[in-house]
Symmetry: C2
């Protein structure tokens, strides 16, 4: 099979479509949709990365408060995921606009999103400029999951998550588990 060269742009797939919550100095919450969310340190400690453009309101908020929550959405709320990626929190209250429900977190100020099946409370360990995005390193302090997605052994049942992927600019559901 012949290979040809193309101009790269956001070439890695799949990535999550995660909703990141943050707050301003008076506690007003904001939401941004990001594909650039990833595991870096796996077990001890658990550190994730998120990459955000400097121009965004969330960049400004998380830089100041040094806290954020990662909320993993389901297919049911994909329209709200789109909205949170298209409008700026500088002008719009995205909780009000989408109808998503904020829940208090345990260790940080930004809220959990109730409709998301997994929520990760994170404390910023460092911020660095990498090309056209800034990398925020976040230690995961607390992980919340909906009880109904857990199996009897308290392991997450991936099928029950009803999640989706962001693949080279397109949203895709998952199909079948392979290599079981």
């Amino acid at each position: 099979m012949a290979k040809i060269q193309i101009k790269p742009k956001r070439p890695i797939y799949p990535t999550p479509a995660a909703l990141i919550t943050s707050v301003d100095e008076t506690g007003n919450p904001n939401i941004i949709t990001l594909g650039e969310v990833f595991n870096i340190s796996i077990i001890n400690p658990v550190i994730i990365g998120i990459a955000i453009r400097k121009a965004t309101y969330s960049h400004s908020l998380i830089s100041k408060t040094r806290e954020f929550v990662v909320n993993m959405p389901t297919v049911d709320i994909i329209d709200k995921v789109m909205v949170c990626g298209e409008v700026s929190g500088r002008r719009v209250d995205k909780f009000e606009k989408t109808g998503l429900t904020p829940l208090p977190a345990v260790r940080v100020s930004p809220p959990l999103i109730a409709e998301c099946s997994i929520n990760l409370e994170c404390k910023v360990l460092g911020i660095q400029e990498i090309g056209d995005h800034d990398l925020f390193l976040g230690e995961v302090l607390v992980q919340h999951v909906e009880e109904e997605i857990l199996d009897k052994n308290r392991k997450i049942n991936f099928r029950k998550l009803n999640g989706f992927a962001f693949n080279l600019g397109e949203f895709w559901t998952f199909g079948e588990r392979i290599l079981t």
Copy 2:
């Protein structure tokens, strides 16, 4: 729906299962399977991250040569993806063991894997310790794609890629495109 707290471990999904190629000082190639591969800088420049444990042979090779290639596999070779994640290149020639085919790259020394539909030649910009993994930042110098996965407008046709995701420890195919 009630939320409960669980102990986090590699909590973000989906991630890719990508094959990373590297070479030793005499040009002998190695392969490692990683889930921790991600976009950071999207357009200008295109910078990706990979997170590797210090103990691995690939960590040692890429630290010395400061070059690697990201190869995106298809479902057809998932058994080989597993092998490359289970054995060490210190003891085993993984190209020989798996039968995967090395192809010369254009700008770097590590080979492309012919059976992978997308290959990204990368130059290391920096290496930093982050918890239990080290983060390698790589600028994407060249992207190769199989001609047959491109549409007429030279856009990648995601369905033709036949890719898969690594989700909380499980391999999953993709289902349907949503929000088209």
